[in-house]
């Protein structure tokens, strides 16, 4: 079955372009503004939007997303609240929406109920950053029976046997963590990053999204050469945080999204992204 996410990648691969996936913590900076920002991100070229369920102990996240999560929880955001917010934004956003949640809120609700509620809200896929693939069985069953894509993470130190397991269970796209670190650290583009992605490509056709530490159009443009998607989160949170009024927060997010999307879609710097990607050897 072709999911909404598959369709995005089919379309972009056909035209040789890289998808842009912005992230926003659900309920940040407040509920109403969050919905407006999701809509603005959709209008600024987002191909898929990632919405985070705020969690009390986000151990894969750096300071920006930790802060946003704390703020959203202090504002009273809940798991159901995030689903409602997605449902409200859904008709105004063309891009598929994926949910990011740590595993405890997912298990507290129960995988089956979580999957059903997510689907009902119009969610296309779910990312669980602290759920290793070999412990995901109950979640995989629930997700697949509700037609949700299961987006797993792979890291620079993931071994080949594990990588095989991960790509076998991943649907929609693989979330490749650009570095050993937490979200919002600074990205260093190294040869090994490109080699790792090539290695994944030799195992599977699954689209590869790269996240963690991507903050500038220059980062995005460089990654477009090898990735099918680029995920940006902390920098969006930082831009929103720097603004005081709802209007300026929405505008700041849209402005950053527009420039990142432009870098990804139009390549900037001359070279065609796909051409460069073909240049990477698959050894």
């Amino acid at each position: 079955m072709t999911s909404a996410i598959d369709q995005v990648f089919d379309r972009l691969r056909g035209s040789g372009r890289c998808a842009f996936i912005p992230y926003l913590t659900g309920g940040f900076p407040d509920r109403a503004t969050c919905v407006d920002i999701l809509v603005a991100l959709g209008n600024s070229g987002a191909d898929i939007i990632e919405v985070g369920i705020p969690f009390s102990d986000p151990l894969a996240d750096g300071p920006a997303i930790q802060w946003a999560s704390r703020k959203a929880l202090d504002n009273g955001m809940t798991v159901r609240g995030v689903f409602e917010l997605v449902r409200e934004a859904r008709p105004r956003v063309a891009a598929p929406i994926v949910i990011m949640t740590y595993c405890n809120p997912l298990f507290a609700m129960g995988p089956a109920k979580f999957a059903a509620k997510a689907r009902e809200a119009g969610v296309s896929g779910v990312i669980v950053p602290d759920l290793p693939v070999d412990e995901a069985e109950p979640w995989l069953d629930a997700a697949s029976s509700h037609g949700l894509d299961t987006i797993f993470l792979a890291a620079p130190n993931t071994t080949l046997p594990r990588m095989r397991e991960i790509v076998a269970r991943t649907k929609g796209f693989l979330y490749y963590v650009s570095m050993t670190g937490v979200t919002g650290s600074s990205l260093t583009l190294t040869e090994s990053l490109f080699q790792h992605i090539s290695r994944i490509r030799s195992l599977s056709d699954i689209p590869v999204g790269v996240g963690f530490g991507v903050s500038s159009p220059e980062d995005a443009r460089a990654l477009a050469a090898v990735a099918d998607a680029v995920i940006v989160g902390s920098e969006i949170i930082r831009r929103i945080s720097a603004e005081k009024t709802t209007g300026s927060q929405v505008a700041a997010a849209a402005r950053l999204a527009g420039s990142l999307n432009d870098a990804l879609k139009n390549g900037g710097a001359g070279a065609s992204p796909r051409a460069t990607r073909q240049g990477v050897s698959f050894t």
Binding site: D57, N104, M109, P129, D130, F152, L153, N157, I166, G181
Partner: protein, 378 residues
């Protein structure tokens, strides 16, 4: 657990399994436990305490007399040697009361490794003495401002560091929590407490005790103490921190009042709300101030093999004073929770019964805090 840590955990598991069956590793650990830590620690009969309580015979397993003043060194030494064996050059650890931080910093100094200790700023205030000790031992104490600014948040920060520096760093987790192999490994390094106590009481009294009592925060001293007795007909009681009272909602009684969930890579009882958000724990004893508990404790609770009780902040303070007055021993506020249970459970007043309490740490670190609390009360 984030995917980045999975290879590190697999590597650690393999290294631990290999090391525990390597005679040279075990010999080095035994030598250090004997000559550096000062093991075996005494099993002392607290006769004046028994008399005062008109209670059973009470024996104290004196982990407070181990080098650095608590049982934590048993584990940090084992993990430190393991870190060196796996070629890591940097050690990180979380700490609550500071006892684990001090023990980790001590081992890092002994082995000549770089050391960073994560500690919540709330705990840095109430355990200033241990902060100074860690710094003198050459460790960097990294303040943690997030969340409840205590143990749980220090663990989060240590995990974030480990994810970032996984190639050269070993994370010395201080208790029987976290992902596999930590709960198993920490239990194995701490089970020296129970093995010694078991042979000491047999040698001295010719029979096993009737009851074991230990405080339970995340649960390392209790698991280490209990595990060698699990096949014996010995009653076991773990005492959790009831903080300001179970009904107040401000406590750390995870097993008694929590529900099952996943925190820091382990499925166990947790303090959490209906949405799976972790609720902040509360205890006067920084080392018990954790909203999770070792998964093996959850298992032993569900089996009914260990009974879990609780003691409040004030009960622990009263026990602190009672042990000081009757025996000349200042217990850590954590360990005072185990004594507090004895004070409350007067039903076991048969003078032939034998109870061993794990006195997991010494109370010097708590003197300022206790003085302040008593001053506030009067």
């Amino acid at each position: 657990m984030p995917e980045t840590l999975v290879p590190a955990l697999e590597e650690l598991d393999a290294a631990f399994q290999e090391a525990r069956s390597d005679p040279s590793f075990m010999r080095e650990l035994q030598e250090l436990l004997k000559h550096y830590v000062g093991r075996e620690t005494p099993l002392y009969e607290a006769k004046r305490l028994s008399e005062r309580l008109r209670g059973p015979r009470i024996f104290l397993k004196r982990e407070d007399l181990a080098h650095t003043g608590a049982h934590k060194i048993n584990n940090t030494l084992g993990q430190g040697l393991l870190a060196r064996r796996t070629g890591k050059t940097r050690i990180i650890a979380e700490t609550g009361a500071g006892q684990h931080g001090v023990a980790a910093a001590t081992v890092a100094a002994l082995l000549g490794m770089e050391c960073v200790i994560y500690m919540g700023t709330l705990d840095m205030e109430r355990q200033a003495l241990n902060v100074a000790r860690m710094r003198f031992l050459g460790a960097k104490v990294q303040p943690v401002e997030s969340g409840s600014r205590s143990l749980k948040d220090a663990v989060n920060e240590a995990i974030r560091d480990w994810v970032t520096n996984v190639y050269n760093t070993h994370y010395i987790l201080g208790s029987v929590v976290g992902p596999h192999p930590y709960p198993l490994m920490v239990r194995e390094f701490q089970s020296v407490i129970g093995r010694e106590a078991r042979s000491q009481i047999l040698e001295r009294e010719g029979q096993l005790p009737d009851v074991l009592v230990a405080c339970v925060g995340a649960g390392s001293n209790a698991i280490g103490f209990f595990s060698p007795f699990l096949d014996d007909a010995v009653e076991m009681i773990g005492v959790e921190a009831a903080g300001e009272g179970l009904e107040s909602g401000r406590h750390a009684a995870t097993l008694i009042a929590g529900s099952v969930g996943v925190l820091h890579g382990a499925r166990s009882y947790l303090l959490q709300d209906g949405d799976g958000q972790i609720i902040e724990a509360h205890s006067i004893a920084a080392g018990l101030d954790y909203p999770g508990v070792g998964p093996e404790h959850s298992y032993l609770k569900d089996l009914g093999r260990v009974r879990y009780e609780s003691a409040t902040d004030w009960e622990a303070l009263a026990a602190f004073h009672l042990l000081a007055e009757t025996e000349g021993i200042l217990p850590a506020l954590e360990s005072a929770h185990a004594i507090a249970y004895l004070i409350r459970s007067r039903e076991n007043s048969d003078p032939q019964r034998m109870v061993i309490v794990c006195l997991s740490g010494r109370g010097d670190k708590d003197v300022a805090q206790v003085g302040q609390r008593m001053g506030m009360k009067s």
